[in-house]
């Protein structure tokens, strides 16, 4: 009798223990994330993690911050050595480098087609993480571009905000000359050792250093040629203020020395940091190149999340990214307001933060505009060697200002790029 009671209690206890185990075994792991920038990606990922754990308290997160180059170095080492058990569950990869990792290490990242609804994201962000029709990764922040301009300087030169819409780059240069003549201010800051401006222009016309199949495309690349020609015209017209390096470039507009900035939406926070310039700025679509297929939307930078195939918490990591990054509109409002992050989920525009008129930009609904342009950014193939070709392009930018023939420059870039890729 006594024995039986003990036995039955034991059995009951074991059963209870087993069922407890079973219920937590569904999702109980720790999801490790590697990313960079404590004030941006890391902070945003912590917010996303908090939202997920609010619904599923059994999941914990370990968000580790390294420098961007450090994340890449660690990823490269772990993947090349084949010791994939040292990899995190989720890793942030810059969009320009995505194809390099996906193609160099097939099978290293989890295929997410069918698990995430990609139709809700900006198409160009999905394209850059697609290999042979399979999509890897979850699109994150966008570098959709805009033309930020000083309304006060342009008004002094006789231009209204309407005059800044639907520009071509030739018209932009004409306006730049007027602005300098009337206000003494330069039209834009330009760093001759950075090809970012070229990349913006090239992608606005649907071109890249590589064609749709990923083959190097330099010499007969109409978009790249038009971009180089435009930079040459700007350099020769002298409407730019030269900048050496990033901080000097930022200083050209924070100091009020130039009338416009053409770059990714992530610069908004820096522009708005100058409180005394409130109400003086406007944002227009970027000017258009004079080639077929050219438009007013482009992109500079941006990165996305990837789940490693070897991850022990793979399903949990995918569920997390899907629940927050692919669905949570309120999350996108919060990261826009607190961190100035523009995600690539198009539906985010329906939220309150995206609908707000911004007093700094004279009451314009800038986020609605950026969201419009986000959907229009041409999808291109960033290829495996964007950074290598970018180095070759950068090396030849100074010769543009000296009046070199653009076709010759293209030839030189092509031969240097071929050398670096091999």
């Amino acid at each position: 009798m006594n024995n039986r009671t003990i036995l039955s209690r034991l059995a009951a206890g074991m059963f209870a223990g087993a069922s407890l185990l079973a219920s937590t075994a569904a999702f109980a792991g720790e999801v490790t994330v590697w990313c960079w920038d404590p004030n941006f990606n890391v902070a945003i990922m912590k917010e996303a993690a908090a939202r997920y754990t609010a619904k599923r308290p059994e999941t914990t997160f370990n968000i580790v911050d390294f420098a961007k180059a450090d994340v890449e170095q660690k990823l490269q080492t772990a993947l090349s050595s084949g010791t994939t058990d040292t990899l995190p569950d989720i890793v942030l990869i810059e969009d320009y480098g995505a194809q390099k990792y996906l193609q160099s290490f097939p099978g290293a990242f989890a295929a997410l087609s069918g698990k995430i609804d990609y139709s809700g994201f900006a198409p160009y962000k999905v394209e850059l993480m697609t290999v042979d029709g399979t999509v890897y990764g979850v699109p994150f922040d966008s570098g959709v571009t805009g033309l930020y301009y000083r309304k006060d300087y342009l008004e002094q030169a006789g231009f209204k905000p309407e005059d800044m819409q639907d520009l071509t780059w030739d018209r932009f240069i004409e306006i730049g000359k007027e602005v300098e003549a009337k206000t003494g201010k330069k039209m834009l800051g330009l760093d001759i050792n950075d090809a970012g401006f070229i990349r913006i222009l090239m992608q606005s016309a649907g071109g890249w250093y590589f064609d749709k199949e990923g083959n190097l495309s330099i010499e007969n690349n109409a978009a790249l040629k038009a971009a180089l020609e435009t930079e040459q015209k700007i350099l020769q017209a002298g409407i730019h203020k030269p900048a050496a390096g990033w901080t000097e470039w930022v200083n050209t507009f924070t100091s009020g020395d130039v009338a416009t900035v053409t770059t990714g939406v992530w610069i908004t926070g820096t522009v708005k940091a100058q409180a005394d310039q409130s109400g003086k700025w406007g944002v227009a679509p970027i000017p258009k190149l004079n080639v077929e297929g050219a438009g007013h939307a482009s992109n500079l930078g941006g990165s996305s999340w990837y789940v490693t195939e070897s991850s022990a918490e793979k399903d949990e990591a995918i569920d997390f990214l899907n629940e927050v990054y692919a669905k949570d509109i309120d999350f996108y409002q919060k990261i826009l307001t607190e961190r100035g992050a523009v995600g690539s989920l198009l539906a985010a525009r329906t939220g309150a933060a995206y609908s707000e008129a911004d007093a700094f930009f004279g009451g314009e609904k800038v986020w609605q505009n950026f969201s419009d342009w986000l959907a229009m950014v041409p999808a291109v193939n960033y290829g495996v060697f964007t950074n290598e070709v970018d180095t070759a392009v950068t090396a030849h930018l100074p010769s543009l200002g000296e009046g070199a023939n653009v076709d010759d420059v293209l030839k030189q870039i092509a031969s240097q790029a071929e050398g670096q890729i091999q």
């Binding site: 920038d37 404590p38 004030n39 420098a67 040292t86 200083n251 992530w266 940091a273």
Partner: protein, 271 residues
């Protein structure tokens, strides 16, 4: 004649002045920047500002300073002690024990100086992963312990060590390890001091290998933390400079404390 000597001296001082400026300016800039806001730094401000305390405050809230410093100090001190113990023994052995194979082995050791670390990284990483040492501080220290350069340095210094001392000790009945511990180490202390400064600096500033091996926020060393702060899209340069200053202080401290011995060690230990 006098005039040309005068102009020669002037030229000398001008050159020395320039060299001094070039070596001091980065430190000056570091200290100035630590007292300014990021916006002022980008604007090129070269005078002291009033943001020093704010920067320090931000650095201490963003970074778990005691933990990070403990990590760095632990790694640097332990690795230095181990490196010096192992490499000085090797240097002593290479010089004291004569054999045919000696110089061949020694050449092989020196040959490893020519292999860049980048080439060793992946095999080393695989070794550490297989032994389960990834994300531990031991993994950072182990590859540095047998340092070809420090072995070379000790062997070269040992050449000046009078063999009569060893012979006399032997006659007095000391064993080899006793000779090493009680005779060699005290005699060579300025060599040890110099080696300590060199190895400590290398380990404290070590960046690439810890970066590859360490995987969590809790194990990171100061170099990784500063790198992470500096690589933000909009780095707060004032805060980065606080980190840089704090990361520089221990090496400066070690150098100044051991400066006299360091210089002696460089000139040769035994007089």
């Amino acid at each position: 004649m006098n005039l040309s000597r005068l102009s020669g001296t002037a030229l000398q001082y001008a050159f020395l002045g320039l060299a001094a400026f070039l070596s001091i300016f980065p430190f000056f800039w570091m200290v100035i920047s630590a007292t300014n806001t990021s916006i002022d730094i980008i604007g090129g401000k070269t005078t002291f500002g009033d943001a020093f305390l704010a920067n320090v405050g931000k650095f201490f809230t963003e970074v778990d300073v005691p933990l990070i410093f403990w990590n760095s100090a632990k790694v640097a001190v332990l690795a230095t002690v181990l490196t010096i113990a192992v490499s000085s023994l090797a240097g002593y052995g290479f010089e004291m024990f004569k054999s045919k194979a000696r110089d061949r082995i020694y050449s092989l050791v020196l040959l490893t100086l020519m292999v860049p670390f980048g080439a060793l990284m992946i095999p080393l990483f695989m070794m550490m992963a297989k032994t389960g040492l990834i994300n531990t501080h031991i993994a950072i220290m182990l590859p540095t312990v047998a340092s070809a350069f420090i072995i070379f340095y000790f062997r070269q210094s040992t050449k000046a060590f009078p063999t009569e001392l060893r012979d006399a000790a032997k006659v007095d009945g000391l064993k080899e390890w006793q000779i090493f511990l009680y005779i060699y180490v005290p005699v060579m202390r300025s060599t040890y001091a110099a080696a300590f400064v060199i190895v400590f600096m290398t380990n404290w500033n070590n960046y690439l290998w810890p970066l590859i091996v360490l995987q969590s926020n809790e194990t990171k060393t100061i170099t990784l933390v500063v790198s992470s702060l500096a690589s933000a899209y909009y780095p707060d340069y004032g805060v980065v400079m606080i980190g840089t200053i704090l990361a520089t202080l221990p090496t400066l401290f070690v150098f100044f404390v051991m400066q006299r011995q360091f210089v002696q060690g460089m000139l040769g230990s035994v007089k």
